[in-house]
């Protein structure tokens, strides 16, 4: 029996959490269990308004609930920001390939994020914490424009106390509430944070940030095949049919959204 890949699962909004003035997290309970792995994305729809792709930001081991963190940038995200607990939305997915966690075993891991890119990376960090014993050194670098925009600020500040994590945070501009570094995220990517001979580098954030983070990782000596990037394109169907998210010979939705830099480095315009 064929299934309908276009159909969304009825999903209840359990809670709406205001993260920053422009970013909101919705906690969702789908009426059918949906399991995903870090880096995979979902299509969220507001009935009658439309659909847009988002990567969950909660622990993937919870099959009952899912958090999705969303910046207000367009028609669908504006409608999502209007949601209240008890409202109904649609969920399809998960789609694409996430991070190959098994390949990270025995390796040192450097995770670098920026802006709302910290949302999918939170899911990844929960899984990395979960398999912490199987990893070498774990380093986390995060930044955003200003302290009031720092996503999950309290939670991530709490990670500063973790002895098993090498963590540094920065904001482009600082204010009196900010006690960490000031500057671009590349400025806190110190050469000694991981041993490039046995490290993987992971980056998620605005394209221009990922571009310079990638160059910095290459400069540190992490090879292109061990740099993982989460690419943002206009994913619509989610399974390689609608044609919107083509990236060279790939579709970002079905072949990504997580790619190694080696896979995509020769494709013109990847950072546009």
């Amino acid at each position: 029996m064929d299934k309908n890949p276009y159909r969304s699962v009825k999903t209840e909004v359990l809670e709406v959490i205001t993260e920053t003035p422009s970013i909101t997290t919705i906690r969702l309970r789908p009426s059918e269990p949906l399991s995903f792995s870090p880096g995979q994305f979902m299509e969220v729809s507001v009935p009658g308004v439309g659909e847009a792709p988002f990567t969950p930001s909660s622990f993937c081991g919870d099959h009952e609930k899912m958090d999705i963190t969303i910046v207000k940038v367009g028609k669908v995200t504006e409608a999502i920001h209007e949601l209240k607990a008890g409202d109904i939305v649609g969920l399809r997915g998960p789609y694409g390939h996430g991070y190959p966690l098994d390949e990270f075993r025995g390796k040192e891991v450097l995770v670098v994020g920026g802006g709302v890119g910290l949302a999918p990376l939170r899911t990844l960090m929960y899984s990395l914490f979960d398999m912490r014993g199987d990893l070498g050194k774990l380093a986390y670098r995060a930044g955003c424009r200003q302290p009031c925009e720092f996503l999950y600020r309290e939670e991530i500040m709490g990670w500063l106390d973790r002895p098993d994590l090498d963590i540094r945070l920065t904001t482009d501009q600082c204010d009196e509430t900010w006690s960490c570094a000031t500057g671009l995220v590349t400025s806190i990517m110190d050469s000694s944070c991981v041993n490039p001979a046995n490290a993987v580098g992971i980056s998620c954030g605005p394209p221009v940030m990922m571009k310079f983070v990638t160059f910095r990782m290459l400069e540190m000596g992490i090879p292109p095949e061990r740099i993982y990037l989460s690419m943002e394109k206009n994913m619509s169907c989610g399974f390689g049919k609608c044609g919107h998210c083509r990236l060279g010979t790939f579709y970002c939705c079905k072949d990504g959204p997580v790619f190694t830099y080696a896979q995509i480095k020769d494709i013109p315009g990847i950072w546009d």
Partner: protein
């Protein structure tokens, strides 16, 4: 191969019209379009000639289609009757190879397309002429089908030479065996002569236009990725998307949710990669913000992407895009400039 007289052909169509939604071309010489049996009598069917104005994809992957209703788990398109398309040309059958590659996969296959392809009948026919915009032979195609049909009809005096190309086609011919008779050597000779004449006409058109062959196009888009020709060719593009909608292989669509009577309908609508917002993301970034980048994208998809992922060009040489373009962008001129470094 057997002979089907024009009279018997019309009886066959009437019989098929009882079990399928029967579609056949009407019109004349250079212009024909598909109609259905509830609108026209099969007596008016025009088999032969050249490709129809509209691409065959329009019936299997329609321009606007409801693909989901609310959160209902059922499949869309249950009300759709299987099709029987009569008079499809070889270029449209080649279009199916690309659409099949896109829409027929196990995990995420498009349910409506899958069902229509599985349950429908395709009765194709030879071209008996070629348009000035036709260039199927430049891309290793032929003006008559060799595969991808259930039955193929080659027009000859008084009727058609019929050939089955699938199990479904053989079963159909067996079920109506009284309609088919042995062909005469003269009819077979007529078929050979028609095919040769159309091939010759296509050769003349290709030579006059300097249309490059398939071999020379391999890797050409990648080699000429930064060439000025893209901006020059895009100068007359008005971003109407006609080249996409008229193309038998263009498959891009967008999903559109619409609320009506308290339920949400999700519609799959044809999209066009020439339109500004096609690849734009909600944050505003647009990887193809300039029109010439989008024109190049169309050629990249057809002549670079599909050869790499599906092993063939996503262009059938039907020439519909050249005929439809209000900016007179001729796909053959772009291809010629690609290989001639123009």
């Amino acid at each position: 191969m057997t002979f089907l007289s024009r009279v018997h052909f019309e009886s066959l169509l009437k019989a098929l019209g009882g079990t399928h939604k029967l579609l056949f071309p009407v019109g004349s010489g250079s212009k024909s379009h598909f109609t259905s049996i509830d609108r026209s009598d099969p007596g008016s069917a025009f088999i032969g000639g050249v490709r129809s104005v509209e691409p065959l994809k329009a019936f299997f992957f329609s321009g606007r289609e409801r693909v989901a209703s609310g959160f209902e788990p059922g499949l869309p398109g249950r009300e759709l009757q299987p099709l029987c398309v009569v008079g499809a040309k070889a270029c449209d059958l080649k279009g199916f190879r690309i659409l099949d590659h896109v829409f027929l996969d196990h995990e995420f296959g498009d349910p409506t397309y899958k069902r229509l392809r599985r349950e429908s009948l395709v009765i194709s026919s030879d071209c008996t002429d070629a348009l000035e915009t036709c260039f199927c032979t430049s891309l290793d195609g032929l003006p008559y089908p060799e595969d991808g049909f259930d039955i193929n009809l080659s027009p000859v005096s008084g009727g058609f030479l019929a050939e089955a190309g699938s199990e479904k086609g053989r079963a159909l011919m067996a079920a109506h065996s009284s309609l088919f008779t042995d062909p005469s050597p003269k009819q077979q000779q007529e078929r050979r002569e028609n095919r040769e004449a159309v091939l010759e006409k296509l050769r003349t058109i290709a030579e006059a236009g300097g249309t490059p062959g398939a071999e020379s196009l391999k890797g050409a888009v990648a080699r000429r990725y930064d060439a000025p020709l893209w901006a020059e060719e895009a100068a007359t593009c008005v971003e109407c998307g006609a080249c996409n909608t008229i193309c038998p292989t263009c498959h891009c669509f967008y999903l559109y949710d619409q609320m009506a009577q308290g339920t949400t309908g999700r519609f799959r609508m044809w999209d066009s990669c020439l339109i500004n917002d096609f690849a734009r993301v909600a944050g505003g970034e647009n990887p193809r913000s300039r029109l010439w980048m989008r024109l190049r994208n169309r050629f990249e998809k057809k002549f670079d992407f599909f050869p790499k992922v599906a092993g063939e060009f996503a262009c059938t040489g039907c020439g519909r895009c050249s005929a439809a373009c209000p900016g007179r962008i001729d796909i053959r001129r772009v291809l010629r400039r690609l290989v001639e470094n123009g």
